[in-house]
Every structure is written in structure tokens, then in C-alpha cells.
């Protein structure tokens, strides 16, 4: 698999993402900066977490306008796979590649803790190693992760199976207590209609090795590795 990680001034989770991709695929991803062009022949583009451009204006708003995002939009338009985690999810939303918005956490607090998610859509390039309904743990660290969309958009996401992950408790119940940032319908991650663009707030890349305290997040990267096995 040929993957590239795109960074902006203020990105800070790119190394974690690199470790996760390398562990699952055996190949070191290409590290790109916002002024670089996206090279041809990529299978996957990843926008990692951080605080791009100091979260000025709105989280992800500045990065969404940076030169490399033109290439990322074109890559996605041609059916390329794009993963955005945390700030990367915010950037995908600001770039119009995924619908909705991410508001300040309902508690106004920056949330830095583990959460649990239930896999709502299996069988995609990002989730094929999980069964639908599987529950896994992932760290989260964000101030603006409160997913919002109007009811029509939420209904469409649900009916078309584009909700990828939902916040739940350890047993997989989508309770209010498990939905710490206040997201609409406990939504933690969503997919584009062609299932090739995925954004989520928590960090599966930070649980891919027993040394990190677990491997709950590894299936996401193994799924991606499976999707792009050399023919």
C-alpha cells in the first residue's frame, strides 16, 4: 500500500499515524507538508490529528484552504481513499469532503481520555477487520468533537449506512454518558457515500501495539492493508 500522511503547521499526531500504518502494512508512509503536491499512484491519504494553524477561525478551516487540499479533493473525487482523524476529521468537514460540523464539546472541556466505539459499518476499507457491532477502545483528545448536522443529513447518514462509528460504553450501549462530547446520535465517525472517505474524532492509531496499552485500533490499519494488498 502506498500511503501518504499530510501535515500542516500545528499537526502533531503524524508520527503516531506513521507507526500505525507501518506496523499494519510493513511500508513506511510518505510524509508530506502542506506546500507539497500529492504524488500520483497513492492508495491512501491520511490527515492526522493536531491543531493545524492554531485552530484559527474554526478547527480545520485554514488547513482546508491550504494548497495540498486541492490535490486531496481531486484525489477523493477520483475515488481515492482518505482517512481523517481528530483534526484531520475537522479538516475533511471544512473541506466539504464529509458533511456536518464539529462544535465545541458540549461540556466546554477538552476531553483527554479513552472512549469506546461501536462499529456501525463493517466491510469498508477502514473497517473490514471488524464485525458490525464490534466494540473497541480508543484514546480521544479534542476540544471540538461535538458532531452536528441537521436532521435530514443525520437521517441520510443513518439510512445510507454512512455512520462508521458510534460512542458507546464498554458493552456497546450508545448511552448519553458514553457520548462525552455531545455528538448528535453518538456519532464518532462517518463515511462518504462511496465509502472511501472516513473521518472520526478518536485515535485508533494510538492503540496499535501492546506497548501502547493495547491493540484495539490495529484492525483499522489492517483493514486498510487488506484493501490494498499487492495484486
Amino acid at each position: 500500500m502506498k500511503a501518504a500522511i499530510v501535515t500542516f503547521p500545528g499537526t502533531n499526531r503524524e508520527r503516531d499515524m506513521r507507526v500505525a500504518l507501518k506496523r499494519a502494512t510493513g511500508r513506511d508512509p510518505l510524509m508530506l507538508f502542506h506546500r507539497d503536491a500529492l504524488p500520483p499512484g497513492l492508495d491512501l491519504v491520511v490527515l492526522p490529528g493536531g491543531f493545524s494553524y492554531g485552530d484559527y477561525l474554526r478547527c480545520g478551516a485554514m488547513a482546508a484552504q491550504s494548497p495540498i487540499m486541492r490535490d486531496v479533493r481531486a484525489f477523493a473525487a477520483k475515488g481515492g481513499h482518505v482517512l481523517g482523524v481528530c483534526n484531520g476529521f475537522q479538516i475533511l468537514i471544512e473541506a466539504g469532503l464529509l458533511p456536518g460540523g464539529l462544535l465545541r464539546n458540549a461540556t466546554l472541556r477538552f476531553l483527554s481520555m479513552d472512549c469506546h466505539m461501536r462499529v456501525e459499518r463493517a466491510g469498508t476499507a477502514f473497517t473490514s477487520r471488524w464485525q458490525k457491532g464490534a466494540v473497541f477502545r480508543a484514546p480521544m483528545a479534542h476540544g471540538d468533537g461535538n458532531y452536528f448536522a441537521d436532521d435530514a443529513t443525520l437521517d441520510r447518514l443513518e439510512s445510507e449506512g454512512l455512520v462508521a462509528f458510534r460512542y458507546t460504553d464498554e458493552r456497546g450501549e450508545a448511552t448519553e454518558a458514553a457520548n462525552r462530547n455531545g455528538s448528535a446520535r453518538n456519532i464518532a465517525g462517518i463515511l462518504s457515500p462511496n465509502l472511501r472517505v472516513c473521518g472520526l474524532m478518536p485515535h485508533p492509531e494510538d492503540l496499535v501495539d501492546p506497548l501502547m496499552g493495547g491493540t484495539d485500533g490495529l484492525p483499522m490499519f489492517e483493514s486498510l492493508a487488506d484493501a490494498f494488498l499487492p495484486a
Binding site: 477561525l57 474554526r58 478551516a61 484552504q65 471544512e94 458533511p99 456536518g100 460540523g101 462544535l103 465545541r104 464539546n105 458540549a106 461540556t107 466546554l108 461535538n146 452536528f148 448536522a149 441537521d150 455531545g182
Partner: protein, 79 residues
């Protein structure tokens, strides 16, 4: 020509910041504050001298960058 773009959380969209400010005002002893909404003001100094064109340009900027119209509404005033 100067333009002011007022960006506010849309009606019906949770505004935790406004809520927190409201609680703080209450803590300071200000009574009778029914609701607080917090937004932002962006001032633009535009080369355009025609008011209609300046307003249209500022609105275009608001739609494409200054506001996220999924969660925010905006209003442009020429100064």
C-alpha cells in the same frame, strides 16, 4: 470600504460558550440574563468602493470561509 461580518452560532445549534458566559454572569450577580449567544466579528478593509459590490464580496467570503454555514449564520454590515 470597511465591512463587518458578524458570525453567530445558528439558532438551534448548541452554543456551550454562550451558556458558560451566561453562568459566569449569573455568578457575578447579574440577574435576568435569559440567554447568551457568543459569536465573532470579522472586520474587512476592502478596496472595493461600490457598496453593493463590497457587500456581495463580503458575503461570498463569509459563505466560503468566514462562516461554516452548517453551524453558523452570518450578517454583513458596511461601515
Amino acid at each position: 470600504m470597511k465591512a463587518r461580518v458578524y458570525v453567530m452560532p445558528k439558532a438551534g445549534v448548541l452554543d456551550p460558550q454562550g451558556k458558560a458566559i451566561g453562568h459566569a454572569l449569573e455568578g457575578l450577580g447579574f440577574g435576568g440574563v435569559n440567554d447568551v449567544r457568543a459569536g465573532k466579528v470579522i472586520e474587512l478593509d476592502l478596496a472595493e468602493t461600490d457598496p453593493a459590490r463590497a457587500k456581495a464580496a463580503a458575503e461570498d467570503m463569509a459563505r466560503r470561509l468566514l462562516a461554516n454555514t452548517v453551524i453558523e449564520s452570518f450578517r454583513v454590515e458596511l461601515a
